[in-house]
């Protein structure tokens, strides 16, 4: 039993902070999705990607041969926490480049695909920016029911259909696409395949979907006879479901970043409460104490999942448990935070630099975006379903 990081990890943490100090504007506060929503933020993110690549941090968990350093789970945890805390942008190469496109290609890609796509991700170059197109209008939580179809014609596939909720599609150079290649199947998760699609393809239309606050994160994508070379198929035809599940499992570390993010907002709020001199009030103190406890507890769970991963144990329900946990925690954090800000919590989160803005606009921004987080990447309910079935071995509940 040991509840502290080793010297190596703590040293790494210091290095990251030095990096932030050296490369970020003073008082920088990176909000969730800034890079998707704002052109300047995107440019800044890409400049950071490049620098992270130079530090060998961008793809540090990858094997050395692909431009990584084979970093340990604990180093990744430290990086994730710090990235969340400081709001380090440009760490994903789109929404998926570093997280699952690279690793999936290493597992399932051809040598040709690996050579063509992996280096630009690891280098933090614009050519290495990816989006991921899974969801469709009629298949949200029910991913296996997707309908976009790729028809093989000679040495090409012709794709028709529609994708939705594709974040970063307006930034990406490439698309990581899941679609149907066989409609004649008895089980709906058969007959799926994964493709690489050039975002410049003819017949591909990307339309922005603005969220209710006015921010542009999501897109819908229309495929009208989009032609893709057959060698853009990743892995085996009609075996996409298993690959897709593997890819989804790479996405699991999200709770660690939330740890850092939530702690930053907590820290900012605590300073604010002390600054405006309300921290002495028992009702305020109790709320901070309660949040501090929740944050500590949620962090420990995220660490536990990482530890299991580190130990080579099977990690199935834990990331879902932690995602659901953070969905609820972030809502609570922002609810308490906005109440503390009172009138100032009504400032427009898309307009963060006014003289009326408090706490860097962080609280009201997260207040609206945490709902999106609770819905995205598996809703809170979906996560609980996974925990129920795989963590508790309870029967199917839906």
């Amino acid at each position: 039993m040991e509840f502290q990081f080793g010297e190596k990890e703590e040293k790494f943490r210091s290095e990251i902070r030095e990096f932030v100090k050296d490369n970020f504007p003073p008082d920088y506060f990176g909000h969730l999705f800034d890079e998707e929503m704002d052109d300047d933020a995107w440019d800044f993110a890409m400049s950071i990607s490049k620098k992270l690549s130079q530090k060998k941090w961008l793809t540090m968990s990858w094997p050395e041969e692909y431009g990584g350093t084979g970093a340990s789970t604990w180093e990744r945890v430290v990086f994730g926490e710090e990235a969340g805390y400081w709001g380090i942008p440009g760490i994903s190469m789109g929404i998926s480049g570093t997280a699952w496109v690279g690793p999936s290609l290493m597992l399932f890609g051809t040598k040709e695909q690996q050579d063509k796509y992996i280096p630009s991700i690891a280098a933090g170059e614009p050519d290495g920016v990816w989006c991921t197109a899974y969801s469709e209008p009629d298949s949200g939580s029910d991913l296996a029911s997707l309908q976009t179809f790729a028809q093989k014609e000679g040495d090409e596939y012709v794709i028709n259909g529609q994708k939705v909720w594709t974040s970063c599609a307006h930034r990406a150079r490439w698309m990581w696409l899941a679609c149907r290649t066989n409609a004649e199947v008895t089980k709906k998760h058969h007959g799926l395949s994964l493709f690489i699609v050039d975002m410049k393809s003819k017949g591909l239309t990307v339309n922005p979907i603005k969220n209710f606050v006015g921010g542009h994160v999501f897109n819908e994508i229309f495929f009208k006879d989009v032609r893709v070379p057959a060698n853009n198929l990743v892995g085996e035809e009609n075996k996409g479901w298993a690959q897709l599940m593997t890819a989804l499992s790479f996405e699991r570390g999200v709770a660690i970043t939330f740890c850092g993010r939530a702690r930053r907002i907590f820290d900012e709020l605590l300073c604010y409460a002390k600054e405006i001199d309300i921290f002495y009030k028992p009702e305020i103190r109790q709320k901070f104490a309660d949040l501090a406890m929740d944050l500590e507890a949620a962090k420990l769970l995220a660490y536990e999942a990482a530890w299991k991963d580190h130990m080579g144990m099977t990690v199935i329900h834990e990331p879902s448990r932690d995602k659901a946990n953070f969905d609820i925690l972030l809502e609570k954090l922002t609810r308490i935070g906005t109440n503390m800000l009172g009138a100032f919590s009504q400032l427009d989160p898309l307009n963060k630099d006014t003289r009326w803005t408090r706490v860097k606009g962080a609280v009201e921004h997260l207040y609206y975006y945490c709902i999106g987080m609770a819905i995205a990447a598996g809703t809170t309910f979906t996560q609980k379903t996974i925990v129920g079935q795989f963590g508790l071995q309870q029967p199917k509940s839906y």
């Binding site: 029910d142 969220n211 109440n339 919590s345 400032l347 427009d348 609206y368 819905i375 839906y398």
Partner: protein
Amino acid sequence: MDFALEKDQELIKKSAREFFEKECPKDKVRELREDPKGYDPNMWKKMTSLGFLGLIIPEQYGGTEGEFIDLMLFMEEIGRNLVPSPFFSTVVLCGMPLMEFGTNEQKDTFLPEIAEKGKIWSFAQTEQLANHEPEDIKLKATLDNDEYTLNGTKLFVPYASAAKYFLVVARTSEGENPEEGITLFIVDSKTDGIETEIIPTTARDVRCEVKFTNVKVPKKNILGEPENGWKIVDYVFQNTAVLKAAEMSGGAQAAFSIVNKYAKERKQFDKPIGSLQAVQFKLVDLLTDIDELKYLVHEAAWNINAGSPSRKLNSMAKAKANAVYHDMCYHGIFLHGAIGWTEEMDIGLYHLRTRSLEFEGGGTDIHMEKIAKELESYQPDFLNLK
């Protein structure tokens, strides 16, 4: 005990609902989000000519002399339809204290202007602390030859950019007790030295910063007793608590209908999502909350209407509204799934108002303390029996 509306209450509710459904559909609401005026002067004119602005103004001043309950029902409809307008600011924040505390001359001058001409008023109270407490009032008014000079900055002043008059809460003296030394002034918005800037808010309901630099106000423009203005602020606060709660109640009811309907229509795994117990039970919890909110507001309003306002019930109504409106919007969006988070769906429009509605009329902690304060003198029945 009677939960039904009277006939004329039904009528007001119905005419308000029909008017706003026709004149203020969601497309209009969206359109006004992009309009720096933040309201539609045409709609405002129609509201005036239909007598909505004179709803509770006495007949002698050109109103229809409705009751507080009528106003409460009207606010429910405003909330239901998300009507962006300076109605609340004009009628509740300014018109009502004018009616209650104004001199005959003031009433003769200003009330018909509201009821018949729809002149817009704005209430300037909040400053840097923004905590609804008298300590927040720092804007200084100094007397010199029957004329006051106002200096200071007000925040979150509603529809200040459209207002013809401000009701300004100012400090005329510093005492031991911060509630003392506060005076309210009626200020013409065109007076020299007033600068207005719109604060970008999520609701886009035109909250402004208003700077007063050597603004001259004649003595006769004091509303109510000088130095004792906090009494008026408290009167406005109590009304605001209940009527903002009514607006939130109407909004929450509408949001609930949207989600309940969506849950029956939207299918996942080949069944309506409403058949998922997690969805259905959440809807049940929300329904209970929304019913509770509705009746807490009605009860508080009924008590005001009956001439026996209850500070405890007023605070309960607003505290409950704060909790329910947020929960309804948050879970309403969540239950929609990704589409709920887009600007395409109406549910998000409700959530954009949460923070503004929650602050106005007081946050939850404030009201919890006010309820507790009332409990200090509460006498339990079991002690009375002895």
